[in-house]
Symmetry: none
Subunit: 234 residues, 2 copies
Amino acid sequence: MDRYIEAVVAIEGSESLAAIQSIVRSSVVPLGYDRFVMFSASPAREDLVDSIYWVEGDWFGKGVTVDAETYVRHCPVTRNFLNVDEPFFWTKVMSARGEKYRVVRTPRGPGFHGLQVPVFGRTGLEGAMSFAGTRIDASARTRAVLTMIGAAAFRAARRLIEAHEPNGASSLSPREREVLRWIAAGRRQADIAASLGLSERTVENHLRRARLRLGVATTAQAIRLAIRSGEIED
Amino acid sequence: MDRYIEAVVAIEGSESLAAIQSIVRSSVVPLGYDRFVMFSASPAREDLVDSIYWVEGDWFGKGVTVDAETYVRHCPVTRNFLNVDEPFFWTKVMSARGEKYRVVRTPRGPGFHGLQVPVFGRTGLEGAMSFAGTRIDASARTRAVLTMIGAAAFRAARRLIEAHEPNGASSLSPREREVLRWIAAGRRQADIAASLGLSERTVENHLRRARLRLGVATTAQAIRLAIRSGEIED
DNA sequence: TTCGGGTTGAGGGAAACTCCTCAACGCGCT
DNA sequence: AGCGCGTTGAGGAGTTTCCCTCAACCCGAA
């Protein structure tokens, strides 16, 4: 079976971030990519980047430490994820007024180029993996490979990292969330009661408790807050 | 380069649905999958499935035509996409009270099994590709292959189909949008009327027209749709 | 000028939702 | 056993929204 598929399987089975990184490296360094950034993201944040899982390689010049803030400030093409839902290549252009990053169809020749691979989930953008290098292979094949490996690596890394961090406790109970989901889907309280096998009163009570917990006055506002915080699917 | 990667590249370059289907078939039939469903979906719809792009093979018994409604009614595991954001295997279980579909970690032995591969985008769930067969390879490798091919095939198919169907983007009027924004912020119609200097009736009328345009039954659902389509800010 | 669309507003009635309090049951935890 | 929490459900009263129809005004396009 294909070696890149094997890499994905190995990534999925990895038990440490270092293991994931090692597999990614050995897979994509031969393709010319030797700088990596992996981060979780949320379109609700205006700076997009939530927290960085992995930074490696010389991104902005020797000796520059890259943290979340630096990365976002220097790499504005990341915001392109708000407009597209596929991986895209970028290239660093040197102009009279300094360096500039630009989204391109195909980066050519030597220079600093990269591929941003977004990872989407139920709530939209969840994170990304970014590959870069000075002499990269930018073929359609390589893009497909990086798309697959980047997505697998991000999911595997997040699985490991979120296992260690106390996950953001959702403020709604399962029932409250379920009722709210149906309301957001356009059902009436009575319909929901029927399809869940509850009394209309119970549905109403769940809704009220949900409003209380979310600290809002109306159900419409609760829908919006719940979507924003990922309690229910957008 | 790997043959499955080549398949993905070929899918991305396809200019017809038939071409995509042909590539998918030749890639996954050797793995035991000979039944396919590809559909666009939206968590906003309570039946989840929007429209079906591709149905092939014997899903529910010989001679049963599968349309969107039949598929959803017979295949409740599809709703599992609301809870997970990774592909999952399912299997058909024969019990005393008829057949039942169940989500499983690994389907074993002969029988009717399948893999559901969700495709996510900026707005969350966008569609899925479903592979099934009676003697399937359910290894981690195959799951990785189907994940990649399913996602590529769905995106390519949607690109082709949406190019033909000019989507009627029905937008809201400025006033409708403004009222909806306030509603989403938790205001009551009467409050909005006061702060916009309108009568309560007018606010109510704007809301009704907004619901009509968005094609939804309740204001709560309108909030969600408007957020999804970017009519109001999240 | 006529036509369509957006905005404004009304009446009347029906349906749905919100708010308050109270209470029972199960489940896990100390 | 006692406690907290989630789930379920009720009565009663009040508020809010929804539905349907009708109509006036303004404005830009045909």
